[in-house]
C-alpha cells in the first residue's frame, strides 16, 4: 500500500509550527523589553540619590565650620555674618568645580542667621519639632549650660538612669548644671522644648569618650542640584554650631 500524500495536512502542520515559533519569539522579545525598562529606571535613579546625600552632608559640615570660624573671630553680628558668607561663597564656587567633573551643577544659598532668633529647644530646633527628646545617652559626667531667651511655660531637663531627676526651668536666663555618676550612666533629655527657645551647650563624657552637643541657631540652607536626569532643590535646617 503506497503512502497517501495529503498536502492539506502538511500545510496545517507547518502553519502550526510557524505560529508556535512566532509566539516564542514574541514572548522573549516582550520579556526583554520589560526587563530593560525596569533596569533603566532602577539603575538611573540610584547615583543621584547618593550624590544628594553627600551634598547635604558636606554642606552641613561646611555651614557648621563657617559658623564656628565666624563666631570665634569675634566682632559684631555683621562682621560675623560677613565672615560666614565669605567662606560659604568660596565653598559654593569651588564645590561647583568638583561636581562639574561628573556633569552636574550645584548651587548653595543660606539665610542671614543674625536676623533670626535663637532656635527652639525642640529636637530639630524649629517650633514644630518634637518637644520631648533625648539629647544624648550613656553619659558619665556632663556640664550643661542652657541660655533661655524666650520662655512660655514649663520646660525641664531630665536626667534619667535607674532614677530620674527633673530640673525645672521657670524663667529666662542662663542656667548651668554639673552632674556625674560613677557606674550608673544617665541620659539627658529636654521635656516641653517647644515652650522655650535659646541656646544650649553640653560637654562631658559619654560611652567612654568626650562629647559635645550645642545649638545656637538653625540655619536654613538651600541646595540646588542638577544633572542630565533631574533637578532638585532642597532646603534643610542645619543646627549650628553642632
Amino acid at each position: 500500500m503506497g503512502i497517501i500524500q495529503n498536502n492539506d495536512a502538511q500545510f496545517m502542520l507547518l502553519a502550526g509550527f510557524i505560529i508556535a515559533i512566532g509566539l516564542v519569539i514574541t514572548t522573549v522579545m516582550f520579556s526583554s523589553i520589560i526587563f530593560e525598562e525596569n533596569m533603566a529606571i532602577g539603575g538611573g535613579s540610584d547615583p543621584s540619590k547618593n550624590e544628594l546625600v553627600n551634598l547635604i552632608h558636606i554642606t552641613k559640615d561646611e555651614t557648621r565650620a563657617a559658623y564656628n570660624n565666624s563666631t570665634a573671630s569675634g566682632g559684631g553680628n555683621t562682621a560675623k555674618f560677613n565672615n560666614f558668607s565669605k567662606q560659604m561663597q568660596y565653598f559654593n564656587g569651588n564645590l561647583s568645580k568638583m561636581y562639574a567633573l561628573h556633569g552636574e551643577t550645584v548651587n548653595i544659598s543660606w539665610e542671614n542667621w543674625t536676623n533670626k532668633g535663637y532656635a527652639n529647644l525642640t529636637d530639630n530646633g524649629t517650633a514644630n519639632g518634637v518637644s520631648n527628646w533625648t539629647v544624648i545617652e550613656n553619659v558619665k559626667n556632663s556640664n550643661i549650660t542652657v541660655d533661655v531667651i524666650y520662655f512660655n511655660g514649663a520646660f525641664q531637663i531630665r536626667l534619667k538612669n535607674s532614677t530620674e531627676k527633673l530640673i525645672n526651668i521657670t524663667s529666662t536666663g542662663t542656667f548651668s548644671f554639673i552632674n556625674s555618676t560613677a557606674n550608673d550612666p544617665y541620659s539627658i533629655a529636654f521635656v516641653n522644648g517647644a515652650n522655650a527657645s535659646g541656646r544650649f551647650n553640653m560637654t562631658g563624657n559619654a560611652s567612654g569618650k568626650q562629647f559635645i552637643r550645642a545649638r545656637d541657631y538653625v540655619i536654613n540652607t538651600t541646595m540646588t542640584f542638577s544633572s542630565n536626569r533631574i533637578k532638585t532643590i532642597l532646603t534643610i535646617p542645619f543646627s549650628v554650631p553642632w
Binding site: 498536502n7 515559533i21 561646611e62 565650620a65 570660624n69
Partner: protein
C-alpha cells in the same frame, strides 16, 4: 496554476531557515555570555557593586559632633603613596611598608577582598594653578591595574578645614590650602572603582 507542492516547499524552507537562525543566535549568546558581558544580567551586577561601594563610603563617612569621620581621618593621614594588594595586605608599590591604621583598607579587606572584587581608590582635590582653582588629576591611593569595561565608580566628597591640617594632619602634602583668607582648606573627592574579575 496552483502548485501546492511549490508553496509547501517554500514554507518548509522558511521555517527551516528560521530554526537554523534561532539555533545560531542561541549558540552565540550561550558561548559569549559571561558575568561581565554587557547585558541585562551584567547591569544587575553593576548595580550591586554600586550599592556595595556606596554602603562602604557611607559607613566610613559617619561622624559624631566634634569628631572627624573615619574616612576624613584616612584622607588626613594618607602619606600620598600608592599601595597595591599583595595577597595578604596593601603594600607600598615598590616598597615594603603596609597601609597601616587605615579604616578604608580594613573595611575593603573585609568586604571586597573576601568576595574577590577588584578595586582601586583614587583621590581628586582642588589645586591653585596660576590663581585659578582647578581639579587635580586623580592620585591613586590603592591601585589594582586597569579596570574592566564594566567597572563602576562611586565617590564621596569631604571638606577639609584649616584646623584639620595642623599638627601632623594632611600628611600627603598633596592637597594645599586653596583659600588662605578663610578657614576652608580644600575639597577632596574619594573615588572607589569596583569591578568583577
Amino acid at each position: 496554476m496552483l502548485d501546492e507542492k511549490a508553496q509547501l516547499h517554500t514554507l518548509e524552507g522558511v521555517s527551516a531557515a528560521t530554526l537554523i537562525l534561532l539555533v545560531i543566535i542561541y549558540a552565540i549568546d550561550a558561548t559569549s555570555m559571561t558575568p561581565l558581558t554587557s547585558s541585562t544580567s551584567n547591569a544587575h551586577v553593576q548595580s550591586e557593586l554600586v550599592a556595595l561601594g556606596q554602603d562602604i563610603l557611607n559607613t566610613l563617612d559617619y561622624e559624631e559632633p566634634g569628631y572627624n569621620s573615619k574616612l576624613k581621618n584616612d584622607i588626613l593621614n594618607w602619606d600620598g603613596n600608592q599601595y597595591i594588594w599583595n595577597g595578604y595586605d596593601y603594600i607600598l608599590d615598590g616598597g615594603t611598608n603596609y597601609l597601616n591604621n587605615s579604616n578604608l583598607s580594613s573595611i575593603l579587606k573585609k568586604t571586597l577582598i573576601s568576595q574577590g572584587i577588584a578595586h582601586k581608590v583614587e583621590i581628586v582635590y582642588l589645586i591653585n594653578s596660576s590663581n585659578n582653582i582647578i581639579t587635580s588629576a586623580p592620585d591613586k591611593m590603592i591601585d589594582a591595574g586597569i579596570p574592566s569595561n564594566n567597572a563602576v565608580i562611586v565617590s564621596r566628597k569631604i571638606v577639609l578645614q584649616d584646623t584639620d591640617c595642623t599638627g601632623g594632619g594632611c600628611n600627603s602634602g598633596k592637597y594645599l590650602d586653596i583659600d588662605p583668607s578663610t578657614n576652608l582648606y580644600n575639597i577632596v573627592d574619594i573615588k572607589l572603582i569596583l569591578w568583577r574579575t
